[in-house]
């Protein structure tokens, strides 16, 4: 009940926006832009003929592989760059140059290297989510408070113990922040990549619906589904923040 009360204003705004949208379509007698109801029936059509699940599965699989690879590379790399000064001074300038390049700018190169298939979007997801995670992890190591490292030194623990029991736990919350950013970017990128050069996925579905007879009801349906899945992915990462090894950072 409390929850419902809190979300009442945003539900109201959404309802008003949908009503305005509906009114606008009716008022302009648009033949192409769909009414909200057309979007609902369009979505139903996609669910009924099974294509929606295929596209969602295709997009999510690409994100899972690309993002998973990025985590496996970014976290150890970030820890190493944060911990070993030489690694930081050598690699950081390279990352600073590569990081601002939009993932979209990599598309031509991805097509050249990997062709039009599943590897290109996975590569784009990897390249776009790896940088924020490396940076967050590195910054995380650099911002560990000295008093904790000093205390560990005082107890005479080995360098290995220092790393596993102090450095990694201290940085873990930052790593999770990086993963949240990385997954958000990955989801943005997979849709963009699929629009250009693929035959499956939600991005492809949107472009295909437009090309195959201006089915804008399906275009809008695809957009809304992308939004909802993105929200769920973020919610999934938020669950990680409730983990014992991360929660301490946010508790006061």
């Amino acid at each position: 009940m409390q929850h419902l009360k809190a979300s009442l204003p945003s539900i109201t705004v959404i309802a008003i926006l949908i009503a305005a949208w509906w009114a606008a379509v009716l008022a302009t007698h648009s033949l192409i832009f769909p009414t909200p109801w057309a979007v609902v029936t369009g979505t139903w059509e996609l669910i009924y003929n099974g294509t929606l699940w295929q596209h969602i599965a295709a997009s999510l699989t690409r994100v899972a592989i690309g993002f998973g690879l990025a985590v496996c590379i970014a976290v150890p790399l970030g820890l190493w760059m944060g911990w070993v000064r030489g690694a930081y001074t050598t690699l950081n300038p390279i990352f600073q140059i590569l990081r601002p390049i939009s993932p979209i700018a990599w598309i031509p190169i991805a097509i050249l290297w990997f062709g039009i298939g599943n590897v290109s979007p996975v590569y784009l997801i990897f390249i776009s989510s790896v940088f924020p995670m490396v940076v967050q992890t590195t910054v995380g190591v650099h911002t560990i408070e000295k008093r904790y490292l000093r205390a560990a030194e005082n107890f005479g623990v080995s360098r290995r113990t220092l790393f596993t029991r102090v450095v990694i736990p201290a940085v873990l919350p930052q790593i999770v922040v990086g993963m949240r950013i990385g997954l958000g970017v990955a989801w943005l990128v997979v849709v963009a990549a699929e629009m250009i050069a693929l035959h499956s996925g939600l991005g492809y579905m949107i472009m295909d619906s437009r090309n195959a007879g201006n089915r804008y009801d399906l275009v809008v349906a695809g957009m809304i589904i992308i939004g909802l899945i993105g929200l769920s992915l973020d919610g999934l990462m938020r669950l990680l923040e409730g983990n014992r090894w991360v929660r301490w950072r946010y508790a006061h």
Partner: protein, 257 residues
Amino acid sequence: MRTKIEVRGLSKSFQSDKGRLEVIENISFSVQEGEFVALVGPSGCGKTTLLNLIAGFVSPDSGSVVIDGTPHEKPNSRGILISQQGSVFPWLTVRENLMFGLNGHPPADIASIADRYADIVGLKGFEDSFPHELSGGMLKRAELARALVVKPEILYMDEPFSALDALMSLRMRGELLRILAKERHTVMLITHDVEEAIHLADRILVLSARPTRIQATFEVPFSHPRRLSSVASQELRMAILRELGVEHDEADASPRG
């Protein structure tokens, strides 16, 4: 009584924007085994640097620290530093924090040793709590327990209770004395609170403003439990405050050092 810590001609300067800053200048003194020595001095005088030098966290420009007759250069668990900010790991529970220092022990014993020390400092029932669930005073107890659990010969305490409120700080002093009465650690305490020094220490070294030197030494001849309101301890407090440059009437007016 034998000499535990010998500080020989320690000096330390730091590079600053305005050139070299002489922080510690030729300090020598020694601490007996089981002795409680307090270092008091004006804020910013380099007390913390001095303690870090002695504990081995900072290397001196010249001079040396000798502990038990051998040169001391790197920190180890024979001497544990407790700082004002505290350094209880926020990602570990109280028990896990206490277990941290006991790395070399057989794993089966570690938890029970940790729990025993949690009990000693009055944290029984909070072994599974995280630091953010504890009050400031309890956090200090956890820090103290984590230091004691490794059975250090020396405790280096840098304003350990100054972040606590007056009442809690008084309570923690009592707690510390109770623990020290059982296990005779050698203690070096840094404080700006003269009353705290008189309450706890066997000997008080008054430090000068930068560059820090030892300006005066006071023995505290009172046995525990001490009555801080006694005439003798008030006179000692006045004498120390005068060394710190506080005028007689100012010292009378201030309820605490």
